[in-house]
């Protein structure tokens, strides 16, 4: 008999627009000491399953069928007060965001001890002793002292360790981890996953790990269940699912994962996603179309298109009258690099490394404290004349990270994309503007029926396409992509990356591509710069960097990438293989 048995689970959400079946007849089982991965993209219903098992399904969600059994005992029908006994005591939960899953007003000690007193009936002294042991076991040094501290005194990774300790403190039989490492940096992610796997095996706890990340799945799970729109499409051992998947959805999902070990020419077309509204896009002859005209290039130049020299930017975190009292952050320190025409240059680094600041300095959104940005042999950072500055602004455009805040919610798509054209008066009349906006939307795969709609009617991937269309509307030469896909699901990421590759090829764009994700960088970039704490540590050709890193930090980053060699390579086209 399995430890946890979910049978024909059916969950529905009712609202005024009707009924939505979030989970449709899903059956899963979990054994002692086993790690089961539940993988799927947003909207697949992964978190809903976790919440249903632990009894935290919120209104208007409702379980309308099926059963959940723990050790043979049916738990989904238990009355509230009995369920509370199960939750926490027999099933532990680890949430995504360690910043919000601890009570900021209580010490770690009181949070741990309270839980143990409630569920285990330990005395104060016993509980404290156990708390120290627990913190030790999740790898927190100086446990006795750290116990007295408040959550804000711990870093993100440390906090997630505390959350794990909290989930473990009553020796639960099952742990549900909902995206436990998504909010953490890569280096910390690897440690946390190691810890989870070790604890699971040692204490013979069954664990369900809910994630969208194939890397996490590959790293720690024994078995995988693949969810697609509330349905279980495939289940099996991790090696089987990743190595030779049967279901077409699993295949396309795996083929969309950016590889760290090989460079693909293009992601194979990801079927199964209905993100593209107009898949048959018209072929443009770029040379004759508006998009290809007056792009201010052609003359083959010897000098790089963009040179960044000795760039520095400091933020005053706390201002004060006296200089010595000011708190200053050097976000960018003496950074110099150059990008050739037609090249894709990557910047990689963990959060806070200054990647986005550099992007905004180049785009002219921030003013640099020192150094200069030289674009097309002109020092843009010292330009004062508004008209000449606008000419440069037109040539440098940007695609942002968050597709939900990068479009004005009160404007129609037509006006959003047409705004740069109208502002710079790039067309002869309004009719032409509309025609070109329609073409642009076609070009990014949206179709002109999108024109009259508002941003909220589109999904994240579609919004990102709109952002790309807007960026192209000034006919730029240079495109800055600031983590353009980090907010997207992997299959949609694959589509957007494909789109960017196509655009780069056809329009001969020069791209600065910023990401924290090394596999994505490997797929996209010709050359890469590695950033840490605002300093550029190393610049190298992508292939050289991945096969032969020079700087220790680069080596460290590379060693943290999840290994993906056992992922199926079905249908992949390798670059110059």
């Amino acid at each position: 008999m399995a430890l946890l048995d979910i049978e024909k689970l059916q969950i529905e959400f009712t609202n005024r627009h009707g009924k939505l079946v979030a989970i449709d007849q899903v059956s899963l089982s979990l054994n002692k000491g086993e790690i089961l991965g539940v993988v799927g993209e947003s909207g697949a219903g992964k978190s809903t399953i976790g919440n249903a098992v632990i009894g935290l399904l919120e209104h208007p969600g409702k379980m309308t069928g099926g059963s959940v059994r723990l050790d043979g005992q049916r738990i989904d029908e238990l009355p509230r007060h009995e369920f509370r006994e199960v939750r926490g005591r027999r099933i532990g939960m680890i949430f995504q965001d360690p910043l919000t899953s601890l009570d900021p007003l209580q010490t770690i000690e009181s949070q741990l001890i309270e839980t143990m007193q409630v569920h285990l009936g330990l005395s104060m002294h016993q509980a404290r002793q156990r708390a120290v042991e627990l913190l030790d076991s999740v790898g927190i040094e100086d446990a006795a002292m750290r116990l007295q501290q408040y959550p804000h005194q711990f870093s993100g990774g440390m906090r997630q360790r505390v959350v794990i300790a909290l989930a473990l403190c009553c020796e639960p039989e099952v742990i549900i981890a909902d995206e436990p490492t998504t909010a953490l940096d890569v280096s910390i992610q690897a440690q946390i996953l190691d810890l989870l796997r070790k604890l699971c095996k040692e204490k013979q706890v069954g664990m369900i790990i809910i994630t969208h990340d194939m890397g996490v799945i590959a790293e720690i799970t024994d078995r995988v269940a693949v969810l697609y729109r509330g349905k279980l499409v495939e289940e099996g051992t991790t090696a089987k699912i990743l190595g030779s998947p049967d279901h077409p959805y699993t295949k396309s999902l795996i083929s969309a994962v950016p590889r760290s070990d090989v460079k693909l020419r293009r992601f194979p077309m990801v079927t199964y996603i209905e993100d593209v509204l107009a898949p048959t896009k018209k072929e443009f002859d770029v040379a004759t179309h508006w998009l290809g005209q007056e792009r201010d290039f052609g003359q083959h130049k010897q000098t790089p298109l963009l040179q960044v020299q000795d760039l520095g930017m400091r933020f005053i975190l706390r201002n004060a009258f006296l200089k010595k009292n000011r708190v200053i952050l050097d976000a960018v320190k003496n950074v110099s690099f150059s990008i050739r025409e037609g090249e894709v240059f990557g910047l990689v680094g963990e959060s806070g490394s200054g990647k986005s600041t550099i992007a905004r300095l180049i785009a002219g959104l921030y003013k640099a404290n020192q150094g200069s940005v030289i674009f097309d042999d002109t020092n843009v950072s010292s330009l004062k004349d508004e008209r000449r500055l606008n000419a440069f602004r037109r040539q440098i455009q940007m695609v942002f990270q968050d597709p939900f805040s990068s479009l004005n919610p009160r404007m129609r798509i037509l006006d959003i994309v047409a705004e740069p054209i109208r502002f710079h008066k790039l067309t002869a009349n309004e009719t032409q503007t509309r025609e070109i906006v329609g073409d642009l939307l076609d070009y990014v795969g949206l179709g002109s029926q999108a024109l009259k709609r508002f941003p909220h009617e589109f999904s994240g991937g579609q919004r990102q396409r709109i952002c790309i269309a807007r960026a192209l509307a000034t006919r730029p030469r240079f495109l800055i992509c600031d983590e353009p896909t980090s907010a997207l699901d992997v299959s949609i990421q694959a589509q957007i990356l494909n789109l960017l590759k196509d655009l780069q090829e056809k329009l001969h764009l020069t791209i600065l591509f910023i990401s924290h994700d090394l596999p994505v960088i490997r797929q996209m970039c010709d050359r890469v710069g590695v950033l840490r704490h605002g300093e550029l540590l190393e610049v190298a050709d992508t292939e050289t960097l991945f096969s032969n890193p020079r700087h220790d930090y680069t080596k460290h980053l590379l060693s943290l990438m999840p290994t993906m060699h056992h992922l199926s390579r079905e249908g992949l086209e390798l670059e110059h293989a």
Binding site: F400, F423, K452
Partner: protein
Amino acid sequence: MATSTFSRIRDSDLYYSFTHSPAAMISALVALLIFLGAVFAPLVAPHNPFDLASVDLLNANLPPAWLPDGMREFLLGTDDQGRGILSTVLYGSRLSLLVGFASVIFSLIVGVSLGLISGYAGGRIDSLIMRIADVQLSFPAILIALLIDGVARGLLPRDMQDRMAIYVLVFAIGISGWVQYARTVRGATMVERNKEYVQAARLIGMRPFTVLRRHILPNVLGPVLVIATIHLAVAIITEATLSFLGVGISPTTPSLGTLIRIGSNYLFSGEWWITIFPGIALVLLALSVNLLGDWLRDALNPKLR
């Protein structure tokens, strides 16, 4: 699907929440009735109380029609000059609403502009505007309105005072209320300013003023709408208070406040209707507008949904 404005409204969450809130619908109905009655007062009212030819002193102090001595012609009775109370209330709410709307629009324009500038510019300009707002907030609004009203009366020549009374009142009430708008808009602007669509607009070279007008303004108007609705009720009451204290609109063209003041003199001599009916009208108006504002605040706040 390209949608017309009408069907967008019909499908909106706001419309849904409106049709599912009895309080909102009833108060909207009441407010609408008073509003229409006021706007179309010349058509609806049985008399024109300002037309001296139609006023007969013999009809003074008549009780409402259903009481003994009441005349059917004057449904709610008459005042000391023989004017029908129903007619004066209708004409009076016309003035009250006019002053209310005008002063709300005035504070809205001042407050929203200052809030936008303050939130977008930041730094010294922000500090300056917000300190002025803080100073003003430490006085009660009614005191500021009284002060402005008093100063204006002192400055204006006597013969202009009555003509200018309404403008002075609008200015006084308007100025006393801008701070709320400015603070709300400043906060919302600081949030919107950092969103990426604003950066995208700056990226194509738009000037701050254009960015504010085209991008930020439409996105900060939601909370402003709520404040404006609640402020309308406050402005109507403030006007009534000022008129009641005798510093508002002159008795020859009475607003609800003036009517209540005049009527209160007769309360103890038994002619209660002169003050009670304008009072009821004022309460109904303010209450329904306030309830509408409360509903709007809840409906627009996703956290409460």
